[in-house]
Point group: C2
């Protein structure tokens, strides 16, 4: 399964694995792919710095990358205190009522509660870039498309290529115009922030839109060797997978309290996701649970714009997480969740992807 | 591009082309695929009979099929007059107002207006089966999943296999339990009636759900050889394409008044579709135009259930069709519309699909 990306990035298989878990990211890199650590959960740059030092030491010298969340245009932003004042009381009351209705208990008094996720804030995302460039990273990916051009220039000056997610051909072309080196074509079926155009249509559209100016990774709906082969058939040079790693043993090493979430994912079918603005304010695909259903019920308020919506629900997320009730999980995941039927080690997932890809290409060769 | 379906159906390439145009269907069959004529537009069984006689004579002895619209459970249904009484006056007033706002003129006084499409009615769909079984058909496909088992038995007694569309693995397994011979796995990105699960996820899910009990065709998002190769990589034995044939020269032979619609399709991007209940009462993907936008605007009524919604809008469809304004088209089409960039002969489309498939498999073979 060698494409041009293997030589370019020094990896054995062109599978890029996005994950918020450093244990998963390191395992993906050690298994021959490119582990890409999501930075959005790190409010404190020093914490990210420590985790990247751990990555440097636990990837056997193999390449790894980081994923940031940064819009191309720099938004005006206030402090967290200012922003909290912009949240309407009715929205807070709704969240409180839903948590009560769903029997999600308050946090114990001694909980050292995380603040809301601030990685959505531009200043925090910039601190992630500052920290990451002091480590042995091989890629900066941006979940919101092309980062500001000065960030791209800084990355290039440090010899680090930049990847950008895109949900339309025209967006992908603009990213490459801005200097982006690698486009992630993320289809509607993907988890997290996602557009309307499905992977089957989007990948060739983006491949044709950027031509030979940038290689393309296919994202959305990929969790087997057949799907990797389909992605490469569509013209992608590799696959970008995010959801699938949530059901790995390594994920629990970083987030040991996530067993209920994993149980919910293992039970879910491909029909058990919903694309909604309730997680961040922008459309993102989540596992469909009693929490998402409450926001879809008649009388529920419209979600707030980014970054307010995530600030609104961050305390609820902490309570939901602590409650460990699989029916009230709040978790971004793609339609591929239907194929995540057990929790496995990362290396086993990677081996299955490679074997499945090879079997598929052999099968297609006979059809020709 | 030979799969097991080629021998089974006596076709050269495993591409099944659904179309309401007999000229397109015949051209697909003559070009080595399986042309499948949509019957829903034929209110009068005698008219279908005449068209199928034309198909018998214009397919060079090559196989062709028909597509019906029939739920597995027989619904209670009234006459068209009864049904018209169930349509709320407010809905009729809304349609009138929208047509006025969009400057869609009334039909000329001498127009011999078609009645609403009655093919959605069970009795009419049964008349289609009766007529079709008197012709040289090689397939009956049902757009609403498995037809009633007595219809399957009649088809099998006549030596005709039955195909059923499915949008979930569990539905596909049930269709095969009912005796269906071939499953069409139709993803979210497809035109017309469609579910929520995208082709990339749905096809392997359905292939695994039915196992070796039935071959699977992939539908939704297919309009190039790369996409056919992706479909086969996902485990399908062939492709089912519908939207793409709307932009063919042969389509105009059946529906010469469709030039404005074709112009609208050629201009559209993959982002210019919307999944809505306004066409039939069930979710179907349509070209996004000023007509669909009017139904999505604040204050628009909820669409009526099938079959009432289509009766409600059938006169509007006639007026819209006659108006020939590309901005007010009402037309089911999939996200692949973004790749339909000119009107071509069917044979040219088929040749491109085959060449693109072969190029893709050669490319994948080098990646291995």
């Amino acid at each position: 399964m060698r494409t041009s990306l293997c030589d370019r990035f020094g990896i054995e298989v062109p599978i890029f694995g996005f994950t918020p878990s450093e244990h998963v990211a390191a395992a993906i890199s050690r298994a021959g792919g490119m582990g890409v650590l999501g930075c959005v959960r790190f409010n404190d740059a020093a914490e990210l710095d420590a985790v990247l030092s751990w990555m440097d030491e636990n990837t056997d010298g193999k390449p790894y990358g980081v994923d940031i969340v940064m819009p191309a245009k720099i938004p005006s932003e206030g402090t967290q205190t200012d922003l909290n004042e912009l949240i309407p009381p009715g929205h807070r009351a709704f969240v409180d009522k839903v948590l009560k209705d769903l029997s999600v208990p308050p946090l114990p008094d001694d909980t050292d509660e995380r603040a809301g996720v601030l990685g959505w804030l531009h200043s925090v995302a910039r601190s992630h870039v500052d920290v990451a460039l002091n480590h042995r990273i091989s890629l900066i990916a941006n979940a919101l498309g092309s980062p500001p051009t000065d960030v791209i220039t800084r990355a290039h000056d440090a010899g680090v290529p930049v990847a950008a997610l895109a949900g339309k051909g025209s967006h992908a072309a603009r990213h490459v115009d801005n200097g982006v080196d690698l486009v992630v074509a993320q289809g509607h079926e993907a988890g997290g922030h996602t557009g309307e155009i499905a992977t089957m249509v989007l990948v060739p559209e983006i491949v044709d839109a950027v031509g030979d100016r940038a290689p393309v990774l296919a994202a959305g709906g990929i969790g087997s060797g057949r799907q990797v082969a389909a992605a490469l058939a569509l013209g992608a040079s590799g696959a970008w997978m995010g959801s699938y790693w949530l059901a790995t043993e390594e994920y629990l090493q970083t987030m040991p309290e996530s067993k209920a979430m994993q149980n919910a994912l293992v039970e879910a079918t491909s029909a058990d996701t919903v694309r909604t603005r309730i997680y961040t304010g922008k459309p993102a695909r989540l596992l469909k649970t009693r929490w998402t259903e409450a926001w879809a019920a008649p009388g529920a308020p419209e979600p707030l714009p980014m970054p307010l919506q995530n600030l609104l629900v961050s305390h609820a997320h902490n309570r939901i997480h602590a409650a460990a009730d699989p029916s009230v999980v709040s978790m971004p995941v793609g339609q591929i969740v239907g194929r995540m039927d057990r929790v496995r080690p990362v290396a086993e997932v990677m081996a299955d992807l490679v074997r499945g890809f090879e079997d598929t290409v052999s099968r297609l060769d006979k059809i020709r």
